[in-house]
């Protein structure tokens, strides 16, 4: 009985947080001189209005799913892997590199794609390990190391696009020369969505769920995250576990980056990671690092991102409204949770 009551109370607080976030965002939209209801309607229409919009939402869902799944590993180890954004980028760079290297070879295209995706995963993993090494051996906090590496990854992409990998003639912001269609992951007819990416995304989430919930490794990782010193005294090699957590997260981020190249853009573009890494951190915080919630909340966030693309045309509003809604939601949930704790304590 008592338990039930508490559950309803929790739900009430969470609903309150959502309402608070909606109110805040409505005020912001009003301040921009637009009717909030119209803006929300446009968001829905943009995300789900037609078959193509739904497909695009799923296209955005996959990298977010992958990035958030990976982040659950680093969060379990108590690490703020803000460098996940750059790890996605390195995934794209490595994938593009492998594809460029092998596209003129006689290998079967499917094999080239597999190698390229594995290459992308490795790229993401290595970039993550770099942030991990800076932390464990250099004393550089992973937030600053990761952020620095993100900016470096972005400028590396731009350098590649305008330098060594530029299109025949002159380099442009539209990216490198697109790969031949044989090297694309097959998509559903008429849509940008490849079912392969969805399958990989779901597999990744399931793997992470079992890794964290059902294995001894997951348990030890959480021990490191909860109390590093105690874990060390219990005989868990802490820095090795931290590096491993970084590497695992990097693999998933790299996979996301690889998908952006082989399934979505078919080339390297300057904003290849589209902020999915930064957004993944928000998703992870919103769901309080619980793997079961990754899929639905990541889907909701992806829908906001895709829905907002319509806003400039329909209502002359900037598409960054999606970020405002996502941020207000996370902030409201965090703060309402804090208030609930404070009330309960008293």
């Amino acid at each position: 009985m008592q338990h039930d009551e508490k559950r309803w109370q929790n739900l009430g607080f969470q609903l309150g947080a959502v309402v608070l976030a909606l109110l805040l965002t409505s005020l912001v939209i009003l301040a921009a001189g637009a009717p909030p209801l119209d803006a929300f309607k446009q968001l829905l229409k943009g995300a789900f209005g037609a078959k193509m919009n739904v497909a695009d939402t799923i296209v955005a869902w996959v990298p977010l799913l992958l990035a958030t799944s990976g982040l659950l590993v680093t969060f379990a180890a108590g690490l703020w892997n803000i460098g996940v954004e750059g790890q996605i980028i390195l995934g794209s760079i490595f994938t593009t590199g492998v594809l460029r290297l092998l596209q003129d070879s006689n290998l079967p295209p499917a094999f080239i794609i597999v190698l390229a995706v594995l290459g992308g995963m490795l790229g993401g993993g290595l970039w993550a390990v770099l942030a991990g090494l800076l932390k464990t051996f250099g004393g550089v906090n992973e937030i600053f190391g990761g952020l620095g590496l993100n900016f470096i990854a972005t400028s590396m992409t731009i350098w590649l696009i305008f330098g060594p990998w530029k299109r025949p003639g002159v380099g442009s912001m539209s990216g490198t020369e697109p790969f031949p269609e044989s090297l694309w992951l097959p998509t559903l007819p008429g849509l940008r969505l490849s079912i392969w990416t969805v399958v990989l995304g779901i597999i990744a989430l399931v793997v992470i769920y079992f890794l964290l919930q059902g294995t001894y490794f997951g348990l030890k990782l959480k021990a490191v995250g909860n109390n590093q010193r105690a874990a060390f005294l219990l005989g868990i090699p802490t820095w090795q576990y931290m590096l491993l957590a970084f590497f695992l997260c990097g693999l998933f981020a790299g996979l996301a980056g690889a998908m952006q190249v082989v399934a979505v853009y078919h080339r390297l573009i300057p904003s290849i990671s589209s902020g999915y890494g930064y957004l993944g951190l928000m998703v992870a915080m919103l769901i309080n690092y619980q793997a079961v919630w990754v899929a639905p909340i990541a889907f909701f966030f992806a829908a906001l991102n895709i829905g907002s693309i319509q806003l400039p045309i329909a209502l002359k509003l900037d598409s960054s409204l999606a970020g405002v809604i996502q941020g207000s939601l996370v902030l409201a949930v965090l703060m309402v949770e804090g208030i609930r704790h404070r009330l309960v304590r008293k």
């Binding site: 803000i82 051996f137 250099g138 470096i152 400028s155 915080m285 509003l317 409204l321 970020g323 902030l331």
Partner: protein
Amino acid sequence: MENDVILIGLAGVLASAAPVIFATIGETFAERSGVVNLSVNGTMLLTAMAGFVAAVLTKNVVIGFLVGMVVGALVALLVAFSSITLKLSQVAVGYVLTMTCRDLAYFLGNPYVGMEGVRINVVPIPVLSDIPILGTLLFKQDIMTYLSFILIVVAYIWIFKTRPGMMLQGVGERPAAAHNRGANVNRLRYIYTVLGGALVGISGPMYSLSVKAGWQGTISGLDGIGWIVLAITIFGAWNPLRAAFGAYLFALLQWLGLVLQPVLTGIPSQVLQAAPFPLMILTLLFVNIGDAEWVDRVLAQLPEATRRTIVRVFRALRSQPPAALGTPFERQ
């Protein structure tokens, strides 16, 4: 002639470091009291936009700065409330705020992108500005740059030479002891976090009304500076003088990047813009690596004289945070 160009360039370096100094010293105050305000990057963008819009609408730069200050203080108040009162993770709240404020800046600032704006002017100080070299360098600046010089000195004296400053240090280092000596730890943390936020909030309009006048949305070139500010706070070892040195170094390197651009034609400008970030990582590495265990082991194998020199260098570079940074205070 050539010398004049360099001199004016260096005067520009002092001016473009001014917002970084305001933000870094603001963050230094907050962190000295034990609160990390990770929202700096978003706050700077939001206040740059808000200050610009307010100044354009009222045709008054002073109001622009005031609005920036208030917005910065409000964001910091959110950080203070969630970390001090609600005891939430400072990193989590700061991160969400930095992302949300950034998007808010782009969203609300959208109609004002590229709009003709107002800006603050250079005010040469009579007599002093006629001094050769130093006059051009220090006394032909705008008011905010003069204020940045004053802020460095005042903040240094406040933290290290006054009683309230000692209290501030105590609150960040050993809150329990400060509490026993009569300090209201949480109230002081509120005050310094909000004060710090107000200083960060002034730095935003310093860009949009002076250093990079105008509001250009996502291509304003301001995204990322806030993270550099947080890094300079660490590099500065929570000391306004050393922080100012870091800010000037950063501005100097940026200026050199611009000056050298015609020479380095092979490098796209976007790459040069990212140059501060590897430097940021390297500096943080230098100020922290002396504490690493493996460094001790490697050093132990070196000849005594070399070892001593290296240890001395590490110790000089070393930067240790306030002991209670990031942890909430619980009264026993």
